[in-house]
């Protein structure tokens, strides 16, 4: 067994209540497996997710953070995911700019009907994080005194 297969990443998934959380429920009721490394936090809308939450997750040891929301145009609150999209694009770009592997963060739009997509996305994301290995860069930009 290689090191990467042994590595069990910590992955936080923020899911909006109306689409993606329901999509995850559908994945569940359809018994579509994805790794247990993924832990879901329910938020009302993708626009509720503050970049600070994502950085905090990394600070506390997460190896990957994924944000799932309704497809653009389908937001329960009509415009939330459009704001989330801009915010996350800029945040991810900044992380990339600072040399942090950009694969550690992701945004996916998953509707309540897309149980299969939810499962596929999570499988893919976990695989990506496993290939990246443990997150160290988001943890040690500052040299300790």
């Amino acid at each position: 067994m290689s090191v990467n297969e042994e590595f069990r990443p910590k992955i936080v998934a923020f899911c909006c209540n109306w689409c993606s959380y329901a999509g995850a429920d559908l994945a569940g009721s359809s018994r579509l497996a994805y790794p247990a490394d993924v832990k879901i936090i329910r938020v009302p809308c993708s626009c509720r997710v503050n970049p600070m939450f994502i950085l905090r997750a990394f600070e506390k040891g997460a190896d990957g953070v994924i944000l799932c929301g309704c497809h653009p145009g389908d937001c329960h609150y009509s415009t939330g995911n459009y704001y989330a999209r801009r915010r996350m694009t800029l945040l991810f770009s900044m992380l990339d700019f600072m040399g942090v592997e950009n694969g550690r963060t992701r945004v996916e739009w998953v509707s309540a009907a897309e149980g299969v997509k939810f499962s596929t996305v999570m499988n893919d994301f976990v695989e990506k994080i496993r290939s990246l290995g443990e997150n160290v860069r988001l943890g040690d930009l500052r040299c300790k005194n």
Binding site: A24, G28, K39, R48, R56, T79, Y83
Partner: protein, 662 residues
Amino acid sequence: MQRIGVFVCHCGSNIAATVDVHKVVELARLEPGVVHAEDYQYMCSEAGQAKIGAAIKEHQLTGLVVCSCSPRMHEATFRKCAQKYGLNPYMVEIANIREHCSWIHKDMQEATEKAVILARAAIAKVNLNTPLQAGESRVTKRALVIGGGIAGIQTALDIADAGYEVDIVEKTPSIGGRMSQLDKTFPTLDCSACILTPKMVDAAGHEKIKIYTYSEVEKVSGFVGDFTVDIRKKARSVDADKCTGCGVCQEKCPSKKTLSEFNRGLGTRSAIYTPFAQAIPNVPVIDRDACIKFKTGKCGVCEKVCQAGAINYAQQDEIITEKYGAIVVATGFDTIKLDKYDEYAYSQSKDVITSLELERVMNAAGPTKGHLERLSDGKAPKEIVFIQCVGSRCSDDRGKPYCSKICCMYTAKHAMLIRDKYPDVNVTVFYIDVRTPGKNFDEFYRRAVEEYGVNYIKGQVGKVAPQPDGSLLVQGVDLLDNKQIKMKADMVVLATAIEPNQGVRNIATMLTASIDTNNFLTEAHPKLRPVESPTAGVFLSGVCQGPKDIPETVSQAGAAAVKVIGLLAKDKLTTNPCTAKADELLCNGCSNCAKVCPYGAITYETCLVNDHGIREERRIAKVNNALCQGCGACTVTCPSGAMDLQGFSNKQLLAEVDAICR
């Protein structure tokens, strides 16, 4: 410190088969704040709920974590349960260990570990929960319907029949809308006016309905249950109370050259006019741009001939302010402008007309008194070509990307009516697809083809060229036979795409109702809440929401009415307590939160604030709980963290993050 009880559900074997529920109980007990943990076969059952109740009493619990199925399934159940046993319902959190755990993981150890973490996150959150109280707001038992077409009329009638007051605001001088312009209706070929006019009369005569024609909504404030609306009643220059509707003024009016809007510009009308004979109210208006009296100060014929003395040149616009509990948007549609479709020669030839113009041509009250004739020379056409999807299903920016939905059917209707009345006229229809989903729709179309011999050609028309002899050369392609077609026609009818009425964007802004890129109003949910706008208290009726035909419009109008009735039937509204809230000591008053609020729920007030001894006036964000739907967009826009979302607070979500990453 909370006293938390953790309840782990087996869900029969749904959870217990893959999650070691005893282990979850055991480990949950060690978490901060947890004073009790137990498991049970079915937590949602009567017996399970009774266990929760007993534990609340025995351990004086202040918060509950239920590890069970999705909160989308039973959160409401357990909240009610908590309430029943004296706990605030918002002190409950669900750890979803079924859909998100037991059902997708096979390995018991792995699933158990995850269930423990999910429980831990829920416990961490409950530790920070605070009791939330759903607020109440009053309901004004009166509805406003914007738009007096068939959608608006039907909605108003249904609401009024249920006993509630309804006001209709109609921009034009009469209610009736597009349907009043139609000749016959598919698929039954009823006379449009015959079925519409009684409804108009019903509406006008209904004691609960008040109609403001020649009026527009100017300002909307407030929120669901309690809107305040300013309506501008434009000056009619005719006193509606005195006017008897005799029509003499229109007859005698010397200014008769204005193009008739009602006849789509195919005929003319006088400066003082009612749009059509059955107009309701039957009170004319003076078109001040066309009226000689208004233009030159001389004339005054109408005033002289009016025996009722109803003419009032000095009349002013009037602003009426009224309160409403619900607002229905029924602003309808118009056809798109054809200036980007030069190839069809619409602007070059009078014999190229839109389908709506054809409706007027075929109508007995229309410009040709119902005779099918060429508008250029009045001759009877022998060869008519219909072109479908003009501006619909268009991939470039000339037209609209959507299907206008009604064209296939009305074209079949037109073709059939022409062939019926003028059997010697050849009718050819160029189409991309013929779409006939609807009761008796396909049968109707097939009758057009099979019984009436309408010539349907699958293919597009590339060019319509006016010929020196007055005829039109239509060049198209037959995709089925894969050949070029060139044919002469006497008339060409364009099935022009429809689009939402021009003014709808302005209305949507006033209502903070969202609108899509095509200017159709957005539904709260495309499947489950199709007649509600995302903005609470605003409902959608008719084509303003998307293209639809009359039966669909009427159904939707009824559905919107039911939603309005359901709302108005309540004396008070319970508001969602998971709303945003600004901390006045942290708020900068910068307005960025209001910019992202889709509901216009945030306003700013100048308040006297005591910030640790510093007293000063500050501009502070205030969230209207009745309007806020709790999306949280504002909370992330707020840099100081002043804006927080109750029930999903920054601290709660961070606690969940911490618990998961531990």
